[in-house]
Structure formats: C-alpha cells, structure tokens
C-alpha cells in the first residue's frame, strides 16, 4: 500500500488545535449499569485528515461511535462540530443533522434495489415525500457523483450483483452525497465516519476502498476510520487515536509510527510471537468431534478436533469466522464443504436433530433470538428437548418435567426457581445457567458454546466457568467461541485463532494469556 502519510497540519496532535477541528470530543463518559464503557475520552479530528480509531474488543470505540450516531446517550462530556458545541444528548439522528455522515459495518444497503434508488431515496426523502422523482436528472446526478469519486459502478445495477468492495464504495458515496444535499447549519468541513468498513472485504479489495478515502481527503473532507486492522490504519490514515478499557491512551501521527508502537498502545504490552504446535499429551486425549476441511460463510478449509476432557477456545477478529463455528458444527448453518465426524461416525447432511442424537449440543450466543422463547415459561423452555422422551403413552408428563426443571434450577442456582415464570423474566445470567442446565440434562458428549457469558453478570459468569470446568473433568468436550479473552484464560485448555476464515494460530495451557491472545488475534500482518 502506497499512500503518502501527509499530516496536512504539519505535525503532532497539539498542532491540530491551531485550526478549528471538524470534530472535537472532550471528556466523554458513558456507563452501562455500573460498568464504565467510556471514561473521559477525548478525540480531535482536524479538517482534511484521515483519522484512525483503534483498540481491542471492549475498548469503548463502538460505544463512542454509537454515541455520535445517536444510538446511545452520553452521560457527560462535550462535543464540538466545526467549533460549535452540540448540546448533549442528541436526537436519534445523532450528528447527522450537523453534517457528519456515517457508514456502518452492515452498509445499510438493500440487495435488490439499484444504486440510483438508494440515492434518490435520500435525496428526495430529504425534500418532500410527494415530489415527483425525476429519474433522468437523478441518473445524471448519481453518475456524476460516482464519476467524481472514480467509483466504477453502473448506477442502474442492483446491489446484489456488486462485489463487496463496490458495495462499500457505494455506501460511502451515498453518505457523501447525502451530506452534499443536506441543508445543514454548519458550513465547515465535512466528516465521514466509517465503522469497520473492511471487516467483510477480501483483503485484495481493501486498497480500493482506502484510495476512495484519499480522494475524499483531497477535497478537504475528514474521515474517521474505525478498524481492527492495524496495517490498514497505518497505510490509510494521517493520525491514529487508541482507546483501551474505555480510556484514551493517546493520539499520534501515523508517519513515523511502526506497527509495534501501535500494538503496544492497543495492548499495553509489546507484541509476542506464538508457537503453533500442539503438545503431545493434549493430542493423546480421545477425539469426540472432528471437522475436516469445513467451509461455511466465512470459514475456509478448517480442520479441528474437540477432545474429551478439554475446553477448546476459538477466537479471532470480528468477521474472521470464529462466530459461526459453533452453529456450523451443530448443522444449524449450511456447511459448504468438508465433513463433520462425531465419535468416528461421519455426519452427512448435518442438522440440529442429527447432532443432538449424537449427544452434541449448542448454546447459542443470542439468548433472546436463538436460545429460548422469552414469553414461554421456564418449564416449557427447559422441556423442549425432552418432549419425545417423556411421552408416556400419548401424554406429556408435565409433572415429571416440572420436577426435572425445578431440579435443574436448584442444581444450577437459577433464581428465582419458579418454573412457571416466563423465561424472559430471568436475568441474563440466570437465563444462561438455565439453558446450560437444560442441555447438561441430556448428558451431552460435546457442548458447543457461542459467547456463553455475553450479557451475563460477574457472579453468574464465575458459576458458569466453574460448571463448565466441572463437566469437562467428567469427560465432556467443550468448544467455546468467544471474543472475550479473559474467559479463555480462565477456561480454555487450548485456543485456536482464526483469521480470514482460516486457522492462524494455536495456544496451549499456560501460553493462554490475555496478551498472547490479543497478540495472536492481531498478528494477521505478521503471518
């Protein structure tokens, strides 16, 4: 990548204040039920610069962006756009009404609508709901806009035929176009905020998007690029700001910064290099579940084994494919290639029912959407896998199921242990304990966990760790996909790290530390 890193203000963070910055955030704070997500964060973006925002998972960068976009209200702090203070809290449109445009990770495009339709929607929607759309002049406007930014896309093509990077570029041009037609009070420089736009792009296409950002910059606009990818940020930005644990670590010029400088800011410790081989005694354990060259939506040709008596952790950056692995192995997502073997038997056309009958269970990440029916009662939710077994003759034995559900609640310390309550009445931690208890009742051999402690309070989190360790020592095999490094440190015997859908590293036993995991996850550039 060959972009010149030209800090147009001629120097460090301090000199940004000599001109009025496009966006200035001061002492921003935000907490979620007692947990400080942002602790007095500052951020300055000068006009005409591409600025990178970096940090590990949970550092607060997505909270910051969501405050600016109006999803969350900040608890305190000050925000200036082109020198004018914008009173907190903002409305639901966030800073959009002040000339700041956003492109979120999902891009917000509809697959079967055309490029023109997307842009006309914003253009005419802003003016009047009943004004006739002049499609001829609209086509002209859109193709001018695309030409101006050298985006080679047919305005009449629908989104689904475009390549991933073309889609991303359309989303960027659309946001910029929106800024141009908007009638904003602020007349200063424009700012475009890109939230992890490259996560789902093939690496060879990332440059195309980054060069589009340089064209925006050359018009005098500013860009805030939020990313996980250090190399990309170093190549494309003039300055970077790093957050860690909700605090500002610092801002520095990109030119003259090396990868390891930035990694040290992100992690708080220097980068380490990893061994990649399994030790002998681990591989002696009995294999319960084996995947050979499996491919899914993101995962490519992945081999792995879940062994008896171990917790296998799986982690990586968002979009690396680790998130889909549990459901892929459970047959809940289409397997595009490869084979899954459970207890030496190959499972063809895997589906959840087949895997369950081989004593493999899944605890999904999203309890609300996939884990339990929130409006149905605890006993109904805890009975669902057993309805077939408990049919005596033709009748469900509710009495027996109720006793079983109560026993699960008591054993796992689920409070309140009232099994007639709607499931949604329980707190996140109690819901998760109940679900784990339900599946343990089926006496599984392999348990697939996806982010098992997301939205779970500290107390329940500890209990869940203890429980999983206990079941593993009884000979069960556990696969746990998570981006929570601490959890892996406490629980995992072995961790595999994915990058772009492929295996990029493996850590064993004492090698598993928060730093080594973070380093392994960020070691994409080095490998």
């Amino acid at each position: 990548m060959t972009f010149e890193s030209t800090p147009n203000l001629g120097g460090g963070a301090s000199s940004a204040s000599t001109l009025v910055p496009v966006l200035e955030v001061k002492a921003l704070t935000k907490s979620f039920s007692g947990v400080q997500a942002l602790q007095g964060v500052d951020l300055q973006i000068a006009s005409g610069e591409v600025h990178g925002l970096l940090g590990a998972n949970g550092c607060g960068k997505s909270t910051l962006i969501k405050i600016l976009a109006g999803f969350y209200c900040a608890d305190g702090g000050h925000i200036h756009v082109n020198g004018r203070e914008i009173a907190l809290p903002f409305g639901p449109r966030g800073l959009r009404d002040h000339g700041v445009a956003f492109v979120h990770q999902d891009l917000g495009l509809v697959p079967d609508s055309t490029v023109i339709e997307h842009m006309a929607l914003d253009y005419y929607g802003a003016e009047s709901l009943v004004k006739r759309i002049n499609w001829r002049s609209e086509r002209q406007r859109v193709s001018d806009l695309l030409n101006r930014f050298e985006v080679d896309v047919d305005p009449d093509s629908t989104i689904d035929v475009l390549s991933p990077v073309q889609r991303a570029m359309v989303a960027v041009v659309r946001a910029v176009g929106d800024q141009e037609v908007g009638d904003y009070e602020s007349s200063g420089a424009k700012l475009l905020i890109l939230d992890e736009p490259t996560v789902f792009l093939p690496s060879e296409q990332v440059d195309l998007l980054l060069s589009l950002l340089q064209r925006l910059k050359s018009r005098g606009d500013s860009v805030l690029l939020v990313s996980h990818d250090i190399d990309e940020v170093l190549a494309a930005t003039d300055r970077v700001t790093v957050l860690r644990d909700g605090k500002l670590i610092g801002s520095r010029n990109t030119s003259g910064s090396t990868r390891s400088d930035v990694v040290e800011m992100i992690l708080g410790s220097p980068e380490v290099h990893l061994p990649r081989t399994a030790s002998a005694d681990q591989s002696k354990k009995r294999t319960l579940l084996k995947a050979d060259k499996i491919s899914g939506e993101r995962i490519r040709d992945l081999d792995l084994e879940v062994r008896a008596g171990e917790v296998l952790g799986v982690t990586g950056l968002a979009g690396s494919g680790f998130e889909e692995l549990p459901e892929l192995l459970f047959g809940a997502r289409p397997l595009k290639a490869g084979t899954i073997t459970v207890a030496d038997e190959e499972i063809r056309h895997a589906n959840p029912l087949k895997l369950m009958s081989r004593r493999v269970v899944l605890i999904p990440a999203d309890r609300k959407a996939d884990g339990a029916a929130q409006q149905l009662t605890l006993v109904e939710n805890l009975s669902l896998p057993f309805l077939g077994d408990h049919l005596r003759g033709w009748k469900i034995g509710w009495k027996k199921l109720r006793t079983q559900a109560k026993a699960i609640c008591l054993r796992l310390n689920v409070v309140p242990p009232n099994v007639e309550l709607p499931f949604g009445n329980l707190s996140g931690g109690n819901q998760q304990k109940a679900l784990i208890g339900k599946w343990l009742e089926t006496e599984p051999e392999v348990m697939l966990l996806n982010e098992p402690t997301q939205g779970v309070d500290i107390g329940a989190r500890k209990e869940i760790f203890k429980l999983i360790r206990a079941t593993v020592s009884d000979g069960m095999g556990v696969l746990c996909a998570t981006s929570d490094y601490e959890q892996l440190v406490e629980m995992a015997d072995r961790v595999i790290v994915l990058c772009n859908g492929r295996l990029s590293g493996e850590l064993l036993g004492d090698e598993i530390t928060k730093d080594s995991l973070a380093a392994a996850v960020y070691s994409k550039g080095a490998s």
Partner: protein, 344 residues
C-alpha cells in the same frame, strides 16, 4: 435506573416477591372476556326477557354456531405455529358441495360422500403445506391463492347450482337433540375442542407448534422438525374445515359454493378473540369456544332487540380488530410488568 445501580445482586429478596406478583397480575385478565360475556347475557335477559332466556333461543345459539366453532378450532392449529390458513372457508365450501353432489347427483351413500369430502379437504392441506414448506413461501399468500382455486373447483363440482335434497340421514346425525334439547353438532364441536386442547397441552406436537410460533429459531436449534410440524398443522386445519363442511350440509340439507365464504372472517375473529382469554397470548381451544359464543350472544341479542341482520358484520369485523389490538396491549402490559419485576 438508580435501583439497578444500588442493588446489584440481591436475588433472594427479589425472588419470592417476583414469582408471586407475576402469577397474580395475570389472573384477572384471563377471565375478562367471560366477565363481559356474562354482563352481556344479563343485559339481554333484562332487556328482552320474553325472547332471550328461552330454551329455543339457547338451542338455536348453541347449534347454529357449531360449524363456525369447528372451523375455528381447525384454524388455531396452524395459527399456533404462526401460520395463517386463509383457504379454510373455501375448503368448507368444497367439502359441502362434494358431499351434496356425490350424494344427490351420483347417488353415493351419504357416509361415503362425507368421507370423500373430508379427504378432499385433507388433500388441499397437503398441497398448501407442500408449497409452504418446500418453497419456503409465506402461507398467507399460498392459502389465499389456493382458496380461490378451490372456489373455482367447487363451482365446477356443483355446476354453479345449489344442490338440495341431500339424504336426510345427515341432518338427523347433525341436528338430533339427544341431551337437553341442544343439537348434537354442538356436542361434536365440544368434543373437538377437548381434543384440540389435549393436543395443545399434552402432546409433543402441540408444544412444538407453540415454540415454532413463538420463535422458530429456538425450535430449530432444539431439534424440532419445524417444516414437518407446520405441514401437518396445515393438513389438520384443512381436514377439520372439510369436517365443518359436512356438518354444514347437515344443518342446511343443501350446499352451494358461496356457503363457506361467510365463515372465514368470523373464524379469525373467534381465534384472535379467544387468544385474549384463558391462556392469554396463545391461541387456545376453550378461549375460541368462549369467543364464538360471546360473539353469537351479542349478535343474536341485538337482532332479537330489532337490529337489522347486517349488525353481524359490525360485530365480527369489530371483534377481530379489537381482539388484535387487545392482545397487543395486554402483551405490552405484561412486558412492562416483567421488566419491573426484573429490576426489583
């Protein structure tokens, strides 16, 4: 919000109180419809004591609604799984003209004609379910289209005429008054009601339909055969609609294609109104029974007081809309209570 911050983890104190409140707050609403129904009955008894509280009127009200109740009981099976079957009214007509045509025009014995009619209904359900599950299409639109196709077929079978003089044996089997002077078709409907209740409450199939309707991803990830269950539900609703068609011919001794079409909306009104009582938020057979008779009480009473026949359109249409709004409001209320309980 301060409550959340100050009391981080006090599970023991919250647990006893929350379970008690959650049970208690839902109780009175479960029987609200029955209460309104009783008020309505008392009102009509007071207003028209000479016509309303008579055996003849009771017998008429209970007997005349059996067809609608049977149809609605079939309907709530796919509704429980979240699927709308809009073809049931047409299936009723198809079944009715099939019975009449086979019996009158072709001289078939009435029981054979009835069996063929019910099987014809079942076949419609098989086709509906096949299209819905194999091509993953919303059943709303599939059954809307299929329903219209079936109307065409019914016209073909009946030759667009009303077929009369059906074997009186059928009328006897449907309208006989063995107990308390009430037509036997009412008892058929009650037996079906108990059967559906049993399936919903005590079989794995009924419980699976409930999960599919509430959250099909949860059902799938718990090993529920989602599409197979939905298919069976659509077969059952069409089969029951076929039975309703046979009973309908028994009540009128004649059939034409327009017969079934007035039943679709009242069946939906009864199903949705029924879901606001007994088991709130769930389609349930006893609630459906109460809703059917609540509606006919209102309509009959008003008509006996001199209201014109078209009052039923206002009543059924209004009931459907109000029931849908009501179930939304009740759900939002219990959601708020739930959150309040969680925070305490």
């Amino acid at each position: 919000m301060s409550i959340v911050d100050k009391t981080p983890k006090t599970p023991k104190s919250s647990n006893a109180s929350s379970s008690v409140t959650a049970r208690k707050v839902l109780e009175p609403e479960r029987f609200a419809l029955i209460g309104v129904w009783l008020v309505l009955i008392v009102f009509f008894i007071a207003m028209i004591p000479e016509y309303f509280p008579t055996m003849a009127n009771l017998s008429n009200m209970l007997g005349s609604q059996a067809v609608l109740l049977i149809l609605a009981l079939g309907l709530i099976i796919p509704l429980r799984a979240g699927d709308y079957d809009l073809s049931i009214g047409s299936v009723l007509a198809l079944s009715a003209v099939t019975v009449a045509a086979l019996n009158v025009n072709y001289g078939w014995p009435i029981w054979a004609a009835a069996a063929v009619a019910i099987i014809a209904g079942m076949l419609v359900g098989v086709i509906n379910g096949f299209i819905v599950t194999k091509f993953d299409i919303n059943p709303f639109i599939v059954t809307l289209g299929m329903g219209t196709v079936i109307i065409g077929i019914s016209y073909m079978i009946s030759n667009t005429r009303t077929i009369t003089t059906v074997d009186p044996a059928l009328s006897e089997a449907v309208l006989a008054k063995p107990f308390f002077g009430i037509p036997v078709d009412f008892y058929y409907a009650v037996i079906l009601c108990a059967l559906v209740w049993y399936v919903f409450e005590y079989t794995a199939f009924g419980q699976r339909l409930l999960f599919i309707g509430q959250n099909s991803d949860v059902a799938r990830l718990n090993g529920v055969p989602v599409n197979k269950s939905r298919w069976i539900a659509l077969i059952l609703s069409a089969t029951v609609a076929g039975m309703a068609g046979v009973v309908y011919v028994g009540t009128t001794s004649s059939a034409d294609t327009t017969s079934g079409q007035g039943f679709l909306l009242p069946a939906y009104a009864a199903a949705f109104l029924g879901s606001t009582t007994i088991r709130i938020g769930r389609f349930n057979p006893w609630g459906t029974l109460i809703a059917v008779y609540f509606l006919v009480t209102g309509i009959t009473g008003l008509q006996l007081m001199g209201a014109p026949p078209y009052v039923q359109y206002l009543f059924y249409g209004g009931a459907l809309v109000i029931a849908v709004v009501l179930s939304k409001v009740v759900r939002a209320r219990s959601e708020r209570k739930r959150l309040a309980i969680q925070i305490n």
